[in-house]
């Protein structure tokens, strides 16, 4: 299992906010029942790398349906194969270390 953080940024929209675009993404993840965490800077999703990149493809395409002509998408894949990790594990591990 791996984690993907993804941030899909539409360019040239004429307004600084991107909330509608983020809402599209979260609505899709909820509909597809894909485990995720929305943060102030992107969305973190857990899964197999193959699935995660297929999902990135779908999410990257979404703003083009709202008359946007350029999208810049940042993706980080953190793929660890020596042990199973799940969303929130890292946060708990750090909290334990510091308590």
């Amino acid at each position: 299992m791996a984690f993907m953080e993804i941030s899909v940024v539409p360019l040239g929209t004429g307004q600084p906010g991107v909330g509608d675009f983020v809402a599209d993404i979260i609505a899709h993840l909820r509909k597809e029942q894909i485990p995720h965490t929305l943060t102030d800077m992107g969305t973190i999703i857990e899964g197999e790398v193959e699935q995660l990149l297929a999902l990135a493809r779908t999410l990257h395409e979404m703003p083009f349906q709202r008359q946007v002509w350029r999208v810049v998408t940042h993706i980080t894949i953190d793929d660890r194969r020596d042990k199973k990790v799940h969303l929130q594990d890292k946060i708990k591990a750090v909290s334990q270390r510091l308590s």
Copy 2:
């Protein structure tokens, strides 16, 4: 006010885990009482750009104190000046849109 997401990655440590390095960072933020959110992929901090980049300097330096010879640090600054935003605001706004 702006947000910074930062991820400080030590290279060549000999082990896949980076929990000790993340704990150093969070311990520093707690000691300095800097508002932050730890996620599975990095740490998000709220502040003025000037302060955020000064803090990035400090956090980037920390792994070198643990006999690491190379550090790759990713920083994203999201700086919006048409309205005040705070940590968690974006998450609440998207939730409202979808409810």
Copy 3:
């Protein structure tokens, strides 16, 4: 057409250098005759988003063949659909503006 910048970073290798891993990636791109630019910070590739993400999948997998247990891959997709762009176009355009 879109651009992808990709940086594939193996963690826990025991040495700060990553040249062998970068060479694996460039050898693959040359063998497959995929147009690319190697920079000091990553590799930039031109193509359709679908192909680019399939390629990202392949490149991300490569370090695991060298007994690495964790790989962090950063991908940026810049996808502009209002006009055709190719590698080096942006650099030429900026040079013209400044000359």
Copy 4:
């Protein structure tokens, strides 16, 4: 010495192109005689971490002078202290390995 890759993206400009913003940045680097490489995806600069982050501060501020209200800046610092590295070294090293 370290490398910084920086990409400064203005949001909500009303047009997909960002060439004027990139030209501002390159004009500044030329005027200050700061060694850099412009790529299709960002700008790579060599220097001490302290200087690089101070420069990031300056470059991040530039789009706000063009009536932009939100800027998202991506910065990657690659800081290696076991040997001196300069712009283009990595590219030459990989070419030698593959020749």
